[in-house]
């Protein structure tokens, strides 16, 4: 394995561990949540993992009464700040990375308001592709933004996506057929949030099916979020 591949594998392992911890917390199991317990502060890979997880790094704080572990907010916000500083958004305003950067900033403001000072400004990502992309590409990109599907977050994006609900539902069908569980889970999470998801999709059984077929911890975060926050897939 090349050094680069080794680095990527190590980062993926850290992300997978953190995702498992987040999914556990979203199910209301385990200890009270703290990002800094899920990702070791001293691990050099932690900021990158936070940046990849985006708003999901703080998702358990969005649970009803989910205040997190006592006193964790300050350290968690510091870890987020570190991630945002180390990995700024790139030059492409339409990129997934720009959107997830914004999601992480928004989530920190919404979920850790007492510690949201000194956050960098949220970029304004380009959104014209939400109307113009054909459904397969739209679905792929939107699935990568699934961490933004949190209560109180990304309301404007959700409104825009509701206009393409049928297309995203088609993307879910395609993703399941391709056994692309992460994409299916990400789209399923959005579809759980959107009000007009066609009943004939069978979203609830679809989410359960993906859960059973996939062992992927990031898919598990999406599926748990769909169930916990939007009541689908129970």
């Amino acid at each position: 394995m090349t050094e680069q591949a080794q680095g990527a594998a190590a980062l993926n392992a850290v992300i997978a561990d953190a995702a498992s911890g987040i999914a556990l917390a979203l199910r209301g199991e385990g200890d009270p949540y703290a990002l800094t317990r899920t990702l070791p502060q001293e691990d050099a890979l932690s900021p990158a993992a936070v940046r990849v997880l985006g708003a999901d790094a703080l998702a358990p704080y969005a649970l009803d009464g989910g205040r997190g572990a006592d006193g964790a907010g300050s350290a968690d916000a510091a870890m987020v700040r570190q991630a945002l500083t180390a990995f700024p958004p790139g030059d492409d305003p339409a990129a997934v990375s720009t959107w997830s950067y914004r999601g992480l900033v928004e989530a920190t403001r919404a979920l850790l308001p007492a510690h949201a000072a000194q956050l960098p400004p949220a970029p304004d990502p380009a959104d014209d592709w939400l109307d113009t992309e054909p459904w397969p590409r739209l679905s792929h990109r939107v699935s990568q933004l699934a961490s933004l599907a949190l209560p109180g977050l990304a309301g404007a994006l959700t409104d825009r996506l509701s206009g393409r609900t049928e297309d995203l539902a088609r993307g879910f069908v395609r993703a399941v057929r391709r056994r692309d569980w992460q994409q299916a889970a990400g789209l399923g999470r959005w579809l759980a949030r959107l009000p007009q998801t066609p009943p004939s999709l069978g979203l609830d059984s679809g989410l359960r099916f993906v859960q059973q077929m996939s062992g992927d911890p990031r898919a598990a975060v999406h599926l748990t979020a769909a169930r916990t926050f939007f009541g689908r897939g129970r």
Partner: protein, 317 residues
């Protein structure tokens, strides 16, 4: 009540007319050039593999009859009529079916095959007398394992003028089209079942309004996902059948990109392989025929339905 697809009224404006008519014309050309391969062997009613003999002939009859009836261009209708006549000649003007029924009176396929010809007005009195007896037996009414196949038998019965052996709606209710399950659970085999549910229900696209509004809505929603999936998997044959189904929907959408992909998947001489790449150079003629004849007929059939579909821009409201 059902409204039939409009009888041909001469070529009319259609955004895909050039592409569709080329695909149909070149497909029919290819089939015509290869029609010797539809010839039945002497042991057709006994030891020959029906999948390599009767099935191709039946599909030739079914699909060329449809094109002969519905295509807006008279020269393509004439070409399809010639193919249908060829198939009828191979069936020895119906004699073959009497032979098949006597050999295997429980089997449904001779009745289904004969139904394709009877629908086109090619009939044989002796066959009809024979099947009136065999299909009137209580044994004929026993449920078949495959509900889609039951629809095929029911459609053949209607074409021949025989009473339905069971209720069409009840059989339909057990199929994929009747149940309308989770669209992401469809796989290749059930997808072929679904396309044939639609073909049997609508008499191969002639009576699209027999699709219930709920079934039409289900297909409108999910066909793009299935078509996209199977184009990506390069299963051209199934993609062609899905395009034929799409052309049965009210307010059909002409999916130019999908048609172009099928056009590009063809061999240099106009045949569409069932899947993946065309047969490599050096492949025997019989193998090439087996790999391509069905999809090529399907392409011409789907192109004909698409050409006469009620497009979204023409739909009322």
């Amino acid at each position: 009540m059902t409204t039939a697809r409009a009888a041909p009224a001469g070529p009319r404006a259609h955004p895909g007319a050039d592409l569709l008519d080329t695909l149909v014309a070149e497909g029919l050309d290819w089939v015509e050039r290869h029609r010797a391969h539809f010839r039945l062997p002497p042991d057709v009613a006994t030891t020959a593999d029906p999948n390599l003999t009767l099935k191709p002939l039946g599909e030739l009859a079914e699909l060329s009859a449809l094109i002969a009836e519905l295509h807006p261009r008279p020269e393509l209708r004439a070409r399809a009529r010639r193919l249908l006549a060829h198939a009828w000649q191979e069936a020895r003007q119906g004699e073959l079916f009497a032979e098949l029924v006597r050999g295997e009176p429980q089997a449904t396929y001779p009745v289904e095959l004969y139904g394709s010809f009877a629908r086109a007005g090619l009939r044989d009195a002796a066959v009809e007398e024979l099947v009136r007896t065999t299909t009137g037996l209580r044994g004929w009414q026993l449920a078949r394992e495959d509900h889609t196949r039951t629809l095929a038998v029911l459609n053949a019965e209607a074409r021949i003028g025989l009473p339905h052996h069971t209720d069409f709606g009840a059989a339909l209710a057990h199929t994929w089209l009747g149940r309308r399950p989770e669209p992401w659970f469809l796989e290749c085999r059930t997808a072929y079942g679904l396309t044939h549910d639609v073909f049997h229900l609508t008499d191969w696209g002639r009576a699209p309004s027999r699709l219930s509004p709920a079934a039409a809505e289900y297909l409108r929603l999910w066909l793009p996902a299935w078509l996209g999936s199977w184009l990506e998997e390069r299963l051209w044959d199934l993609a062609g059948e899905l395009l034929a189904v799409a052309a049965c929907l009210p307010g059909a959408v002409f999916d130019a990109a999908a048609w172009q992909r099928l056009a590009a998947a063809r061999t240099a001489d106009g045949a569409l392989p069932e899947r993946d790449d065309p047969p490599p150079p050096g492949t025997g003629a019989a193998e090439c025929f087996t790999a391509c004849y069905h999809s090529t007929l399907v392409l011409a059939f789907a192109g004909t339905l698409a050409r006469t579909a009620t497009l979204d821009s023409e739909a009322p409201g």
